[in-house]
């Protein structure tokens, strides 16, 4: 795809602005780490004597700590600049901008970011599936000694029932893979039937209990809801709280009845039924509006989080957590305050 002139100009402007930002003040987008030496005492057993295992961990740290340590002792080695974390930070910023660039139009940067997300997610799910499901549950039951010795020493030994259940699960899993075979695909229908049956069995009971019975009970509300002051219980009802609570209950009951009428198609929506159904439509519209409003709020919160990341961690324009000593923005902040 040949990039348009406008697109080139937009990218060039962003690159120039970032370049200018890098030269102002302390610069931007650098990550630092703190060295923490760890050790653990290993007790003696039949095969080896007591020993001390030592290793070093590098934990992310605020630039302020690095600056302060360097100022106190320029030859210190406890805090250090981290190339790996800095590259990670720049990659995160690049991929954020690459995804946002789709709002302008489809482009190679967006497609690269999209492909990376899909690839990383698939690989992550594969790893999680192996280490968190297959190893502790399947191999832990079928080859307990191997898993206990090599991977999870604390995993409890399986019971006979668990071993039988896992053999059954393994057989079903292998049958499910027959979908990929050129012949015998019908074998996979058996485990699919099992999955559907178990899922339906689990869901029917819980849905009836929580969504049908409990919700029906919750709908039976008194149309007059007296609210009594907790401080002076003898003084009678509180007028406005009682009115509001009763009004809310009346609205709820009317809403339930009208919405049910709207979805009741055995009677033609004329006369009383028609008017009730119309009120039901209004309730539904208000519900959809509220749901849309909440969705907008959620999406804006996610957008704000990404922009905050770009301004704070990448561009160092803001510093709400006080991670840096001197900021370009702090001077402006003091002027605004």
């Amino acid at each position: 795809m040949k990039p348009s002139k406008t697109w080139v100009i937009v990218v060039a402007v962003i690159v120039v602005l970032v370049g200018i930002r890098m030269t102002i003040g302390q610069g931007m987008a650098r990550a630092y780490v703190e060295r923490i030496d760890q050790s653990v005492e290993v007790k003696a057993n039949d095969t080896h004597g007591a020993s001390t295992e030592k290793w070093t961990e590098w934990h992310p740290v605020a630039p302020k700590k690095f600056e302060a340590a360097q100022k106190a002792d320029p030859s210190q080695t406890k805090f250090a600049f981290s190339w790996a974390n800095t590259i990670g930070l720049w990659l995160a910023a690049f991929f954020t901008l690459a995804i946002f660039s789709f709002l302008y139009r489809d482009n190679p940067g967006y497609r690269l970011a999209e492909a990376v997300i899909i690839g990383v997610s698939a690989a992550y799910w594969g790893v999680i599936g192996f280490w968190d499901t297959l190893v502790p549950k399947l191999f832990g039951a079928l080859t307990p000694n191997l898993v206990h010795d090599q991977v999870l020493p604390s995993l409890p030994a399986p019971t006979n029932g668990q071993v039988v259940a896992m053999c059954f699960a393994l057989a079903l899993g292998l049958m499910l893979l027959m979908r990929l075979a050129p012949k015998g695909g019908w074998i996979s229908l058996w485990p699919i039937a099992f999955i559907i049956g178990v899922t339906a069995g689990l869901k029917i009971v819980s849905h009836v209990e929580s969504d049908l019975v409990a919700q029906s009970i919750a709908t039976f509300k008194p149309l007059v809801q007296p609210i009594v002051s907790s401080e002076s219980a003898q003084s009678g009802w509180m007028l406005w709280p009682t009115i509001w609570a009763s009004f809310a209950n009346i609205l709820l009951v009317i809403g339930v009845l009208c919405c049910l009428t709207y979805f009741f198609f055995s009677v033609e929506h004329k006369g009383v039924a028609g008017r009730a159904a119309r009120v039901g439509i209004m309730y539904l519209m208000i519900t959809f509006g509220a749901a849309f409003g909440f969705t907008v709020m959620g999406r804006v919160a996610l957008l704000a989080a990404r922009i905050e990341f770009l301004f704070d961690d990448w561009l160092w324009l803001i510093d709400p957590a006080g991670k840096r000593i001197v900021e370009v923005a702090s001077a402006i902040g003091s002027m605004l305050c």
Binding site: L103, Y104, Y124, W125, I128, G129, D132, T133, P136, K137, L152, P153, S154, L155, P156, L202, K203, S206, H207, E209, S210, D211, A214, Q215, I217, A218, T287, A290, A291, F294, T295, V296, M297, G298, R299, V300, A301, L302, L303, A304, A305, R306, I307, E308, F311, D312, L317, I318, D319, P320, A321, G322, A329, S330, I332, G333, L336, C337
Partner: protein, 300 residues
Amino acid sequence: MSKFITILEGLDRRWIFLAMAISVAGPILYIGITGKTLPETPTPTARAVYKEIEALSPGTPVLLSFDFDPASGGELTPMATSLVHQCAARGLRMVFIALWPLGPQLIDETIKRVILADYPNLKEGVDYVNLGFQSGNESVMKVMLTDFAKAFPITKNGVAVGDVVALKGIQRVDNFPLLITISAGYPGAKEWIQYVISSSGGKIKMVTGCTGVQTPGLYPYYPVQLNGLLGAIKGAAEYESLVNSSLAPKDSSAAVPAKYLEAQRRMGPQLGAHLLMIALIILGNIAFFAQRNSKVRATS
């Protein structure tokens, strides 16, 4: 007027994207630079979450389920921070679990951000424990109803749950008087209500913090099946202000750490974005009615 309507009708949607970016970025810059946040008045659902946690006596075990991943972190991380902050300040025994694969890492981050930073006297394995992720969705919940150790046999660090002091006296999930779930979808708050709360016969109470998309679907469960609800970033900001005001030392004017103001900071961009949305809806309606009137005039 007609020229203005013509411009509106043919407006390139990328101008709207740009306006949205500015309306969100502007308040972030302003709040980030000045440190000022908008005032919050907690609503009954947020107050209910606070009250349920506050009603527990120190040392009571609570189950915290992190059912989300970083994709929803913008909305749910501030809730997780404040919920753990209140639980730690109250001295509750916190048992962390995750039904989403990336939950354990988010639990570790929250523990590091709140407990290790501000409550260093709390001991891992005694005052709190991270049991990690278990695959199986609802089936894990069903197993927890009969045998908690069967659902989570070892901690995230590989310690057998029988050796964990924080889990003393916990045989089933209903041994926890309160379940706190931070939920981004499936499995999440709805499944906890359907499979655990409905089956526990009222032994266990539940409060949740959830995404904006989930919130309308959870309101019907409040207050009978769900004892408290933090809906989206607004609920997080209300609850955050409630926790901050209750935990702030009375005789100190020290500023609240930035990590405990994350949700309140995000309400500024919300205001900007919502004002823009309202303006766009009004403009869209003006354009629609003007267009309809001109068509009517043309046909008559």
